[in-house]
Symmetry: C2
Subunit: 343 residues, 2 copies
């Protein structure tokens, strides 16, 4: 990791991962080009537009780091095509975003028109299907049956988590447990899968695989909590999407659940009124945000995310040998970044 | 195959394949139940509704028949879980229908409300993703890398074929070659993949695998031509979907392309007028159908489908041994059925 007195932790992290991210981008360019070489020009354009959109590449990065911390040398990382295996997770993530933006009728994604907005529903659905299929192909051929099993399990849990969230959206009595269950399926299991598949490819012991899977679950959960916080507190200019979507769609996320649980009877009724009446949700967003603030919904959510991340990192202490040191530092820094991110 | 003087070829075929179809249905019930055992009740309901809808199960049937004609015994078919491998193709087909009905905003599927209509867009997109993922899992784990490669190649060609068709929809000068290229990607390669994956699982020689793949391409192409004919000539009560969709969406299918190529200047202009003006497409459908009829667009299309099927069947003559006889008869009968089907 690059050291420098003036660097913030974020700058240090970015400098440390920059070469990895560059290799991931390169692997995606090469693979996507090869996979779509005979394809329709519009399909190629849709994939190019949707995949190379300034994403953080967190998922493939975790695959590579997990493989490395389990002892895979640079030579073996190349030999075993770990970068190519890793990008499968970015494709799957991309496929999810393509489809989510159709479902949510979202016009913006990272500050640009969404694929759906730019190319229409057909392109977004089918382009997502293409990426989904390619991702499975890469995992199945490069990671083997065990990796494919973990991958498909995570994918289907993601679908299941979305259904659960759909069901939860109607339920204003949602508990924190319900929220965490949906988050696990919707986000955390896939992050865990990146770590597990990387661990498998790195020849991990059972104990190492499990520690990395647990790190992934915690990291993914914290990631989603911060995402849900940003939906209330983020700056559109940074997040690249509108603020207040979740409340306006009646989605029950952690800050809201916590506030509802702690509010006075009167304030609780007021929040529910704003939430239950679609006509109020838009105008009432600022008022609702104030009420969540009043009952520490944001602070308590952030504290939860922090303690989950602390736990995530503690489990990695089993990687105590000298060779693991730099990968461990990056995994720890990533956990810190997930908390601090503004977008 | 059951013999009986009173039986029509279709009844004979149905009697021959009934036990296979029953095993396929059973395998789907078992697998889907297992794959979704912890899933949200709504997701389970969506899958159940969308998958068990009276489909013909042509694709998994072809997998089993291809494995069998290559010499796989009943015992090995059970041991190698060929039925479970076969249903992957029905899942993929189901996923495609879920997504297609979102794209086409289709309300009806086999005479019932489509998944999209019944459960909404979210359920249709995500339910399709679930099936897609499960299908890849089954092929990857039961068929191995070679099968997964064929499967993903066919899936991505399907997406590509849809893009090509999208592009073609704007092009009223479309040639027959363009049409056949889109059909290959959209339909035929997947049918070929069923035969190839079955052949691989059956331990086929290169020659056998190739003959079955070519049979699949031809069968799939004929299948699509008949589909396109039914869109003009079918009876809604039998097909379970509205007639005239393709014309009303401006889709360039074979009967229309042939008629445009043969029509007098005046009639050609008239057809193009009806096609190019969205306001005319609905009211003008019967007139357009009459003009296609006048220039033998339907008859010539049907003759093409027949000669393609004849070719498909001729290539199977390499399976000349006694053990292949009954499977060969069913594959031949299926080809005949594809031509004769009314739905």
């Amino acid at each position: 990791m690059k050291e420098g007195v003036k660097d913030t932790p974020k700058e240090q992290l970015m400098a440390a991962i920059a070469p990895e991210v560059a290799k991931i981008e390169q692997a995606m360019h090469q693979d996507l080009n090869r996979a779509s070489i005979d394809a329709d020009p519009l399909l190629r354009e849709v994939l190019e537009y949707g995949v190379f959109n300034g994403g953080k590449r967190l998922r493939p990065l975790l695959v590579v780091l997990a493989a490395r911390i389990c002892g895979l040398t640079e030579e073996k990382i190349r030999y075993k095509s770990i970068y190519k295996l890793a990008i499968a997770f970015e494709y799957l993530h991309g496929a999810t975003l393509f489809h989510d933006d159709v479902i949510d009728r979202a016009d913006l994604r990272r500050g640009k028109p969404s694929v759906n907005k730019q190319f229409g529903t057909i392109a977004a659905i089918l382009g997502g299907d293409f990426l989904h299929s390619r991702s499975m192909f890469l995992v199945g051929t490069l990671g083997g049956t065990a990796a494919l099993k973990i991958f498909c399990n995570a994918t289907n849990s993601m679908v299941d988590g979305e259904f659960l969230q759909l069901r939860n959206a109607q339920n204003y009595n949602l508990s924190e447990d319900d929220y965490f269950e949906a988050v696990k399926g919707k986000t955390a299991l896939l992050i865990a899968a990146t770590c597990e598949v990387g661990a498998l490819a790195g020849g991990a012991t059972k104990l190492q695989q499990q520690a990395l899977a647990e790190y992934g679950i915690s990291l993914g959960t914290a990631f989603q909590i911060v995402d849900d916080l940003l939906d209330y507190q983020g700056e559109s200019a940074k997040t690249g999407k509108a603020v207040g979507n979740d409340f306006q769609e009646g989605k029950m996320t952690l800050p809201l659940i916590i506030a509802l649980g702690r509010a006075s009877l009167e304030d609780r009724e007021r929040i529910l009124y704003l939430l239950e009446n679609e006509s109020e949700r838009h105008a009432g967003f600022n008022e609702a945000r104030g009420l969540i603030e009043k009952y520490d919904g944001f602070t308590i959510s952030r504290n939860k995310a922090e303690s989950i991340v602390t736990e995530a990192v503690a489990g990695l202490e089993i990687f105590s040998d000298e060779e693991s040191k730099s990968s461990l530092a990056v995994l720890k820094a990533l956990a810190g970044y997930v908390l601090a991110r503004k977008k």
